[in-house]
Structures are given as C-alpha cells and as structure tokens.
C-alpha cells in the first residue's frame, strides 16, 4: 500500500519551435500508416472493433405472446418507476378477469432511456431495444402507442434478462 505524492517538475531542457513542430509532424505522419479508426456511417453500421452492445438501451419494444397480444398485464410498475414520467397506462379487464392495458403509450421524447421499465417489468413485456435510428417527420410520431410498440422488430436489450446471467 502506498499512496505517494509526485511533484510534477517542469522539463529542464529548452523548448523549441522547430524541433517541436518537426516532432509533431513526424508523429502525425506515422499515424497516417496506422489502421483507420473511423467508420463510414451510415453505409457501415459496425466494424471489426465495434458492434453495438447487446445491452444497448434504445427505443422500446413490447413483446407479445403466441396470439400476438402484448404480454403486459397492466400491473402499473413501469409507470411508477419511470423517472421521466413518460409512460401512460390505463388498465382494463377482460371477461375472464385478465388485466390488460387499454392505453399504453410511451413518449420517447421524454424518455431518458434508463431502462428501469424493463428492469421492473414482472412479465418481461416492455423492453428497451437495440435500436438507435429514430428520426421522424413530426413530433407526435414520437408517442409510441401499444400497437406500434408491439410491431417493433428490433432485438431487445439483454440487460435484466435471463439470457445474460451477468446482467442480473
């Protein structure tokens, strides 16, 4: 154990314009022959060094069951935890007494993409998704309703998912 103190001395040798400039140019030229780090987005969406993380927290997706209905049981946990208050949920009940959402809307403009909704959902219904290109032509298109959330097809984040045991 040793937390020391290091006094930063100024370099003793003389500074110079010419030597520093030449040195800088030499270094920069050396960089010309190193592998490129840039990515030609949007033609290229991943490189050898980087692909988007499977834990990415992007626009939401609601998972559906075999009949194509949303898995949500309108338990009310996600609107409660959402720090941005951007989930609107009106619960309903069908003839068998099953709860389902009458209205389920997420305002993606207010959302801060914290992923808490996915973390708390006991039915693994709402998920943040691995998706990042969200442009639209009008503001109201950013309020995603239940139909739109169910129709999303991008992969969902593996955080808080049994498929990624280290993700809790």
């Amino acid at each position: 154990m040793a937390v020391g103190v290091k006094v930063m001395k100024r370099p003793g040798s003389a500074t110079s314009y010419v030597r520093a400039t030449l040195k800088g140019m030499a270094l920069t030229f050396r960089h010309l022959f190193q592998p490129k780090v840039t990515m030609q987005y949007p033609e290229e969406k991943s490189t050898e060094d980087w692909t988007i993380s499977s834990r990415w927290r992007g626009t939401h997706r609601m998972l559906t069951d075999e009949q194509g209905r949303s898995k949500c049981v309108a338990c009310g946990l996600c609107p409660q935890i959402c720090p941005a208050n951007c989930i609107k949920l009106v619960p309903g009940e069908d003839e068998q007494g099953n709860r389902y959402p009458l209205i389920y809307e997420i305002d993606e403009f207010r959302c801060v993409f914290c992923g808490y909704c996915q973390e708390v959902c006991p039915e693994e219904a709402i998920h943040v998704g691995v998706h990042y290109e969200n442009s639209e032509y009008s503001r109201d298109r950013f309020v995603y309703d239940l139909e739109r959330l169910c129709a999303q097809t991008h992969p969902v984040s593996t955080l808080w998912d049994p498929s990624d045991p280290r993700g809790e």
Partner: protein
C-alpha cells in the same frame, strides 16, 4: 462626470412589479455605487471596453457567459454568468426514490457519469447503513477511474483546440471512444450510464469487458506519451500556458478549490488519499502536485493523473474478486428476473420495492468523492421516507470556476481562454 450606462438583461431574468424583465445597469464612467453582480463600474474618462463572450461560444466550454472589461487587450475584470443550463436536479430529486435519482446524476457532470453515479450511491448507502460487497467495491473503483480518464481526455482535447493544437484532440477523443465502447458494453449506454443502484450495480460486467479494459490499459499510455511528445516541450504550448493564470497555494485554498486545480497549486489534497473510500488506500498510486499553479502545471497534473488512473485500473483488474455484486437484502435490491417471475415471495418483494422505494432512516449523510474535476460532495437528508427531503450536490467545477475572475485579472484576452479552459468546467454540473 461622464457616465454611460448600458442596460443588460440578467442571465435568468426576473420580473419587476410591473411585470417587465429586470435589467441590470452596466455602468461605464462615474465612480459607480456598490458592487452589484453583473455591474461593472469603470474609472472616469477611461477607454475601457465591455466585451461579452458567450453563452454561445465554443471557447467557453458550454453555455458560460463571460462579461469582460478590457483595457486594450488586457482583462481588467471578468464576471462569469452562470445558470443557462439550470435543470433543477436537486429539486427533482426530492420527488424521486433514491434509485430513480441515479439517472439524474448522469446528467450533472456528463463527462464523468459513472463517477457521479458512484458518488450518489455511496451517499445513499451511508444514509441507510449498507455495506457493499467486495466485487462491487472494485467495480466502482473501475467505474471511477474510467470516468477520470475520459474526463481528462476531453479536457485535454478541448483545451488543446482552444490553444490552436488540433491533433491531440483527435488522439484524446479516440481514447475516450474506446472507454465509451466499454461503458456501452457494461451498461448499454455510452453517456447516460446509470451504472449504480443503491446497494450494488445495475449489472455485472459482461465477460468481454475485462479483456477489453486490459487491452485499453496496455495501449493507453502510448497515446499519453504521444500527447506528451507534441505538447510538453512545444514552445507554443509552453508560451501560452506557463505563468498564465497563476494561483498560489493560499489563494487556491481560500477559493476552496479541489481536484487538479488545487493540486496544481501545490496542495497535495486528494480525497482518495486523505479520506479514502472504496478501499482506495490499498491501491498503489501517486498524487501529482504542481509547483507553480499555472495553466501548464494543471496540464502536467492532469496528464499524470491519467497515468495514475491507468495504474489503478490495472491493479483493480488484477484483484477483481468473484462473488455477488449486490448486497443480499431483498429490501434494497430487486430480486433477479428469473426469481421474481417464479418465486411468489420474491415477486412480493419486487412489487413492494418498486411501489414504495427503498426507505432510508431519518438522518443525513455526506459523502465526498474525488471526481475528475475535484471533490464531488453528495449530501442527503432523509425524513424516513423513500425520497430524500434534500439532495445537495457540491459541484467541484462550480466552485473551481469562482477563481476565474481572480486568475484572469491582468492577463490578455487570449489568455483568458486558456485560463477558462484550465478550470475544466462542465456547465451541466455548474448550473445543475
């Protein structure tokens, strides 16, 4: 007496009794009355000029506005105006559960989000008397040091650009991107990480993370040496930074500075060493201090801190223990997804915790951590409910910024840019 007055709207205009915006007179000429914030009084007959820099100016590093009184090229007085990015985080926090506040802390000092998350979680845990697990401790050290590296890299790049050196900026940002890739791998977000939870972390690191970070720590010093090679002995860099914005020891202490600003003035004060948290006292590292307290020394100190952070990261990787990340307490930590969906008791805890939040006992807690920019203090007061009554942030860069008028006096206008850059402000944190 020849008196001219320029009316100036305040940064955050209030309304007077007639409902008109309050305007503050900036008086040039005349002896001027008492000093009001935003009011600049100039000697009679002088040729002084008032210049407004910002808030929309790339060299002010965010929406900082500087009103500068100039005598020719020389700064006579410099008054910073803050508040353009005020978001009311502290007030918002009073309406949120402790865990719900964590996304807000991402957005204060957005150049070191992970360290802010850790600072808040430590304060909440001290309030609740929770002891975190050994693995979580080491993971949080990794989070803090990664933040220090990216914050200093951004500082270095932008400051070099301000002083006319473009190339180091690209190299520094490249390193930052590599850390962002690691953060993305861990948390699913590059900037708004929200990595901690009260009593643990949002998630354990994925398998590829350790290899990725080890590769980073091996290759990162090369970039630091390159930056060192182009800047440290470069006559242009030295000329623009040495003996500029000097703060002596006593002044630095009197301005209650912290972080690299304080250490560059020769005060060896680092919370990691002096008030250790997260077992920092068991790591091997040096606290760099400067001798002159000028912009150049701040550069040397920050560059060396990157080397030291790299050392800490290597040691943390070597000692990373196995075991659980979260404390084993169902009142604090949500049960895992598979348990919550199969086990009735876990499900009940899950619902109870989400609906009611984690309750803290009545009391207060303060935790200061060594953020990249200085001492980030988090002060929490609890009345026994699941939401804090008061959440106060001690923002290091706001307090460091208070020394700017003192440092800028008597320097050239172009030096003001260097001095302002050397403070390393983040307006998200200054204005909160």
């Amino acid at each position: 007496m020849n008196k001219r007055t320029v009316e100036l709207e305040l940064a955050t205009p209030g309304l007077d009794a007639q409902g008109r915006p309050v305007r503050v007179p900036l008086t040039v000429g005349g002896t001027g009355g008492g000093e009001v914030a935003g009011q600049v009084a100039v000697e009679p007959g002088s040729e002084h000029m008032l210049l407004n820099i910002g808030p929309q100016h790339p060299a002010t590093h965010g929406v900082l506005r500087l009103v500068v009184e100039l005598d020719g090229e020389v700064v006579v007085r410099c008054i910073p105006h803050v508040g353009y990015l005020h978001s009311g985080f502290e007030k918002l926090g009073e309406y949120r559960h402790y865990n719900q506040i964590i996304p807000l802390t991402d957005r204060t000092d957005y150049l070191s989000p992970m360290a802010n998350n850790v600072g808040f979680a430590l304060a909440a845990e001290r309030l609740m008397g929770i002891a975190i697990t050994p693995r979580c401790t080491v993971l949080r050290v990794i989070a803090c040091e990664m933040s220090r590296v990216i914050s200093h890299m951004v500082w270095l790049g932008t400051t070099a650009i301000d002083l006319g050196a473009f190339t180091p900026f690209l190299w520094a940002f490249q390193e930052r991107e590599r850390i962002y890739d690691l953060q993305e791998m861990w948390t699913g977000a590059r900037l708004t990480t929200s990595v901690t939870r009260v009593g643990g972390m949002m998630a354990d690191i994925p398998d590829a993370f350790v290899t990725g970070l080890r590769h980073f720590t091996e290759t990162f010093p090369k970039t630091l040496h390159e930056i060192d090679g182009v800047l440290t002995r470069n006559a242009v860099w030295v000329g623009r930074t040495q003996n500029v914005g000097v703060l002596r020891r006593e002044e630095a202490i009197n301005h209650s500075l912290s972080g690299p600003m304080l250490r560059a003035s020769g005060v060896a004060y680092d919370l990691r060493r002096d008030k250790p948290y997260l077992d920092y006292e068991t790591y091997d590292f040096d606290v760099p201090v400067g001798e002159h307290g000028d912009v150049y020394d701040r550069y040397l100190v920050r560059l060396e801190e990157c080397h030291q952070s790299n050392r800490i990261l290597q040691q943390a990787l070597a000692r990373l223990p196995d075991g659980p990340v979260n404390v084993d307490d169902p009142r604090v930590i949500l049960p895992s997804k598979s348990r919550a969906m199969s086990d009735m008791e876990a499900m009940i805890y899950h619902f109870k915790q989400v609906m009611e939040g984690v309750k803290a006992p009545v009391g207060e807690a303060y935790v200061g951590i060594e953020n990249p920019k200085g001492e980030l203090g988090t002060y929490l007061v609890s009345d026994g409910s699941a939401k804090p009554v008061r959440w106060r942030i001690r923002p290091p860069s706001f307090i460091n910024l208070s020394s700017l008028p003192k440092m800028a006096e008597g320097h050239l206008l172009s030096d003001l840019i260097a001095i302002n850059a050397s403070v390393d402000i983040v307006m998200g944190e200054v204005d909160r």
